[in-house]
């Protein structure tokens, strides 16, 4: 007969006044599989911790977002934000779905080219583009989003030398009623700087101003901020038409939609507080449709949505290393995934769920990662069933920013697998080996021997 699952025995003193004799009940079911694939089998096969990406969830989320915007606006184009997750397999899913690429470095730009994106479907953002980067982008007819005047002058200069007319947009920052205001990227709307840049471009005719871009912030909990931002860009487009008889072909609203994660310190769950695609789509499309731009010259709407499109598709499976008691009697749970690979623990109260069945009994503990560093905290406090060494856990909604902002710190990074739409698992990034890290190092001759 198969043996039963063992839950660590636990006793908890009840305080008078708490009516639930089991303490606060764990409200979720275990997560034993993703898209029909057993978590424990995945861990046995690929190791722990393990990043798991659901191709099905990426496609479903993308289609939902696209459909929601297309229901409200005639021309919509998504451009996948590489920095959010630039694993090739992930990018390819978005490209197959019709998404362009949005990149902010030469590294990302080349990744997009290698992923089969033609130059004219790559948006090149960011404050750091070298002359050489700009040259390549101009030759490939990519859309260069200008961040500052130094860049504007460089591009004008290059255009003259290359005898090409680069396709450009300017990034605009503005007050959308949200604090803090992001004003370090692009040209300011309120103080007239954005107009100054537009005038420079349109008066000298070396560049083709095809778009207007903004990215007002990230994890924006106010859909209305997008309404304000879209109205301001529409106003610029209208006045460009009026003054120069020049039509702006697209308005790019950037990224920033909140995912369903719960921000640290938030009282309510992100499931209840984050606006939906519907809310954002309504805010943006109503601003554009109600602007002074005539209906027959409405620009295309570009969206560089990152986290809201990929967070739900990513999970991190891991294992309990130890259960400890701290000096004041509090429990701590040590797990094999730390902030080195789960960077977003600094932002979110991540949802962590056991991967095996449990009783309704629960206890509160801290959850620490495996790093020998005080900063390695996954959750300050979390209420879970009593766990023991070897139990498995799943952290949900971690698809955004972890597989790009992770650090090779203290230890090597684990595998990433993708479960395809047919339930077949593929390794899409292998675990790092010592030789991968050491391969870049070299030791000067006089240090090779430690005994002189």
């Amino acid at each position: 007969m198969a043996k039963l699952h063992f839950e660590r025995p636990n006793i908890k003193k009840l305080n008078v006044g708490i009516s639930n004799k089991f303490g606060s009940k764990t409200e979720f079911e275990p997560i034993t599989e993703i898209d029909g694939v057993d978590i424990k089998e995945l861990i046995v096969k690929y190791g722990s911790p393990l990043f798991i990406i659901s191709e099905k969830t990426i496609r479903e989320t993308y289609r939902e977002a696209k459909q929601t915007f297309e229901n409200r606006f005639p021309k919509v184009q998504f451009a996948w934000s590489y920095k959010t997750n630039y694993l090739d397999a992930v990018c390819k899913v978005f490209h197959q779905e019709g998404s362009w690429a949005e990149v902010v470095s030469r590294f990302e730009y080349e990744k997009a080219l290698e992923n089969g994106m033609p130059g004219n479907k790559i948006i090149f953002n960011g404050p750091d583009k070298t002359e050489d980067d700009l040259k390549i982008a101009i030759e490939n007819k990519s859309f260069i989003h200008i961040d500052h005047f130094d860049e504007l002058y460089s591009i004008m200069n290059l255009a003259e030398h290359l005898k090409k007319k680069p396709k450009v947009a300017i990034r605009v920052n503005m007050d959308t009623g949200v604090y803090p205001m992001w004003d370090r990227f692009g040209f300011n709307y309120e103080n007239g700087e954005a107009w100054e840049a537009i005038n420079k471009i349109l008066m000298n005719d070396k560049l083709e101003l095809i778009g207007l871009h903004t990215h007002i912030g990230t994890f924006m909990l106010s859909a209305n901020a997008y309404h304000i931002a879209a109205s301001k860009l529409a106003d610029l487009a209208f006045h460009i038409k009026k003054k120069y008889n020049h039509t702006i072909q697209y308005i790019d609203m950037g990224g920033g939609f909140a995912s369903k994660n719960t921000l640290k310190g938030a009282y309510l769950s992100g499931l209840d507080t984050s606006p939906t695609f519907n809310d954002y789509a309504e805010a943006i499309s109503s601003a554009l449709l109600n602007s002074e731009i005539p209906p027959d010259s409405l620009p295309m709407l570009i969206l560089e949505t990152g986290r809201a499109l990929i967070d739900d598709a990513g999970s991190l499976a891991g294992t309990v290393i130890a259960i400890k008691k701290l000096s004041d009697g509090r429990r701590s749970t040590i797990v094999d995934f730390g902030v080195n690979i789960l960077f977003t623990s600094f932002w979110y109260e991540h949802k962590v769920t056991p991967a095996q069945g449990f009783t309704q009994y629960s206890e509160t503990s801290s959850m620490y990662g495996p790093l020998c560093m005080n900063i390695d905290v996954i959750r300050e406090t979390i209420t879970l069933p009593p766990l023991k060494k070897g139990d498995n856990l799943v952290v949900s909604r971690i698809g955004a920013y972890n597989m790009t902002q992770w650090m090779q710190f203290i230890t090597l990074r684990p595998k990433v697998v993708m479960i395809d739409s047919n339930g077949i698992t593929h390794i899409i990034r292998n675990n790092e080996l010592l030789k991968d890290v050491k391969g870049l190092e070299s030791v000067p001759e006089h240090l090779k021997k430690i005994n002189k």
Partner: protein
Amino acid sequence: MKINKKIAVSESGFVFDSSTGDSFSVNPSGIEIINLVRENKAEDDIRKILLDKYEVSVPVLEKSLSEFLGSLRIAKIIED
């Protein structure tokens, strides 16, 4: 090792100490252990019974059991 006489244990995991008025909640594996202590089983016997029944390694069981029995002693639910 035996159970303090003033302790009442319900099947659902509610433990009440009538001498102090303290109450505790205990999960099912914990109740099982308290009941084994009540049957006068020694720590070694309890370990064997649980190892036969559950999918758990010896070190994990030993650590969990000794920590749990320690908590029961601190709560004065068992005495030596």
